[in-house]
């Protein structure tokens, strides 16, 4: 491990320690709010990992909608994240440490919704970068890597 990495980890650790302290926070301006989830799609009940996560009421139909696109019978939410999209700063949507999304706002889209720059990360590796227009009620499904007997799918929805 080189010293730069050690330094980065130490900086993170200090920040984590500081995060426990109540410090005054100035909330940056936001352009909207997104819900992100990592979903495990599978046909095999044994492959089910036993998560009890439920989607918020607004997005309760997401598993059924996933079933219209991905050839699996069961869709289990492994993790989820409700995130403000900051106007001038990057936002992170991290339902799991394994697969997560960096979101940069590029402002409101014509006719509603948001222009976004997205980066889909797997650990330290960026899998895809994309510019997208996200509209409320029209989720984006990112078909990700296979895992066990199924597939991991990242869901991103703009909150109304």
């Amino acid at each position: 491990m080189n010293w730069l990495l050690i330094f980065a980890i130490m900086t993170g650790a200090l920040t984590l320690a500081n995060a426990q302290q109540p410090i005054p926070v100035v909330k940056p301006a936001t352009d909207g709010k997104v819900w992100g989830a990592l979903v495990y799609a599978t046909n095999n009940a044994k492959g089910f990992v036993g998560s009890n996560e439920q989607a918020p009421a607004d997005f309760a139909d997401i598993p059924q909608r996933l079933g219209k696109v991905f050839p699996y019978q069961r869709f289990e939410i492994l993790g989820q994240h409700l995130q403000d999209v900051f106007r001038e700063y990057e936002s992170w949507v991290v339902p799991t440490k394994d697969l997560f999304l960096k979101v940069d706002s590029k402002g409101p889209a014509e006719g509603g919704g948001m222009n976004l720059h997205l980066q889909f990360w797997r650990d330290q590796q960026v899998l895809v970068k994309t510019d997208a227009v996200l509209k409320a009620g029209s989720p984006l499904f990112i078909g990700g890597p296979k895992w066990r007997e199924g597939q991991l799918v990242f869901v991103l929805v703009l909150q109304k």
């Binding site: 990495l5 650790a13 995060a19 696109v69 993790g79 994240h81 994309t130 997208a132 499904f141 066990r148």
Partner: protein
């Protein structure tokens, strides 16, 4: 000990920034000072190695995508000249843009299977750094969703346990460029920062599962 001006003489000689008269004087000094001569020779050699190993021009990865991405961004910019809007900006509006971008996505391949309706999310451009991964995008009417499918991504090992979070709130600290993620009970779950290579570093506080 050398003075700053002597240091400057050394590099000015090296970089050809001296007048003829200065150059002649410095050459006389060089001939009389073996240490200075050795230092100059080493610096000369180093300069030549730097030039040899740092090319002034390099191939841009995914060059065509590089250009198309700039065009995508220009289309989102305000026109340089307002009155020019009708003559050149309109043709770059969304449907054409999607088609143009689709045509030049080099890293993977993307296919818009149908044009988007006004209320549909849409993927405008795709960049996939890993050449073995292919990306395609389409809209599913049945699911009322936009899909970005990544094919060829290396599978996650079956024995890897995926720990999920339930993040409800975040705080961002611009001073140290970190984001703190909080869970359902207001507990710190994760801190996201970036390392010196600008890659994300995720530090868990209370992993579940």
């Amino acid at each position: 000990m050398k003075t700053p001006s002597e240091d400057h003489d050394l590099i000015r000689w090296l970089d050809g920034e001296m007048t003829d008269a200065e150059r002649a004087r410095f050459s006389t000094r060089l001939a009389a000072d073996p240490d200075l001569k050795a230092e100059v020779e080493m610096m000369q050699r180093m300069s030549s190695d730097l030039r040899a190993h740092l090319p002034a021009e390099m191939t841009v990865p995914y060059g065509d995508f590089f250009n198309s991405q700039i065009q995508v961004r220009l289309a989102q910019e305000e026109p340089l000249i307002p009155e020019a809007r009708a003559s050149w900006l309109d043709w770059l509006r969304l449907p054409t843009l999607i088609t143009a971008t689709a045509a030049v996505a080099i890293a993977g391949f993307m296919i818009m299977q149908k044009g988007p309706a006004a209320g549909d999310s849409v993927v405008l451009s795709i960049y996939v750094p890993n050449a073995s991964v292919h990306a395609r995008t389409f809209h599913s009417d049945e699911a009322q969703a936009t899909v970005l499918m990544l094919d060829g991504v290396e599978a996650i090992p079956a024995d890897r346990k995926i720990v999920g979070y339930y993040i409800e709130r975040t705080e961002t600290d611009q001073e140290v460029a970190t984001t703190t993620l909080y869970g359902k009970s207001g507990e710190v779950v994760l801190v996201v920062s970036k390392d010196v290579r600008n890659q994300p570093r995720l530090l868990s506080a209370t992993p579940r599962g």
